[in-house]
Symmetry: C2
Subunit: 254 residues, 2 copies
Amino acid sequence: MSDRRVTASVLIIGNEILSGRTQDLNLQYIAKHLNTRGVVVAEAHVIPDIRDVIVSSVNSARSRHDYVLTTGGIGPTHDDITAECIAAAFELPLVVDETIEKRIRSRHAPPDIMENRLRMARIPKGARLIDNLTGGPPGFSIENVYVMAGIPGVLQAMLPTIEFQGGSTIRSCSVTAYMGESEISRELSTIQEQYGSTIDLGSYPFNRNGRFGTTLVMRGTDTEELCNALEDVKQAIRRRGQEPGEVSYDWEQN
Amino acid sequence: MSDRRVTASVLIIGNEILSGRTQDLNLQYIAKHLNTRGVVVAEAHVIPDIRDVIVSSVNSARSRHDYVLTTGGIGPTHDDITAECIAAAFELPLVVDETIEKRIRSRHAPPDIMENRLRMARIPKGARLIDNLTGGPPGFSIENVYVMAGIPGVLQAMLPTIEFQGGSTIRSCSVTAYMGESEISRELSTIQEQYGSTIDLGSYPFNRNGRFGTTLVMRGTDTEELCNALEDVKQAIRRRGQEPGEVSYDWEQN
């Protein structure tokens, strides 16, 4: 594992997200998955099914990040234009991939329906396939750009098949305090300054069945530092006259 | 109502969304709300709590869209840097607003906690307030940039208080077809071409209790055109040997 920060940009492609018709669920899934692989999602963009926007967004993101992941727009209909946009972004021709074609043809359909389905066999020339564990048409990748489906069940059947070369795994731990953010914000600020960029300390207010509180979350790559910061935060809670609440870690405790 | 397309960019500010800790729910709420006001969400960006990123994202978005709406980063803690970033984007000083200060001071707190809370009274000089129907600290706006809370309950207590000068209201209607997208994609493509840019026709596959189908959604400003397109889609479903399923409209039917 390297200490270099490895970053990703996520492009969520689809008018249905921007119109509010569909609630995006993919960003959270991708972010959590990439965290476990040592890849930080540095930004995400929700963009419409418009060719110029997709092409320029892909080209901007791929030059600035180690990985670009796209979701949406690889189905069989007229508004599924992601494959041709990725080809345009790389100035490559869009070609029919024989492996995908074979997989699509293995499910019988009348000729006109088959022709529509075969839209999903078109990938930029030279792209590699991303397996689809549902058995449906695969996604594809080219250089550092990974093109996947927008339907959460299908995205989740593609993403785990990709091998990411991440940096150190980002871990997190948290503790709840039954007090408002402002009651502990100065202490948090001091702790954040003390740890600098090795720890990212966030505070998130909540209201559980009418009881208000704040979850204090530490994120970083060094679990020893995280445990130290957690102790400091617990001490700060005690100094504010409360006992620390529930503690959780996203790595195994011995 | 004007025929001009009025657009918005949504900036979702917060490490907790990019880390996957928190599922964003604000984009969908904002998009639906703006649709009813005749404002189209043209893009959305999820960005981290990093000053330079926030400043440049705000400046880019406000020059390209009629409205910019931001969520997140206006609480009392060290990672709440949105207000100072908006001030920097407009090259304005950050000042304490007396109205907000008064509201914050009306809830008693020890001096050190009060000082933390008063961070939320700082706005760019000359900004207008966005009321907060929860009774908590308001948001603010400056020129075409509207700065709101990230907690969904608070955002939803701010957004309805804003008056938007929108274009024509965007309406939608839909019909379900119990067939795959590829079975009807060619017909949809023809219908989309026929209506051109007046109608945006989308298709969204679903699996309800093991029964597969596709929801066909038409969006546009002219309800007569939408009804015509809906009839065309229903005819297309019948030509494919199925009866159209459930029909829905987001405007009242006489």
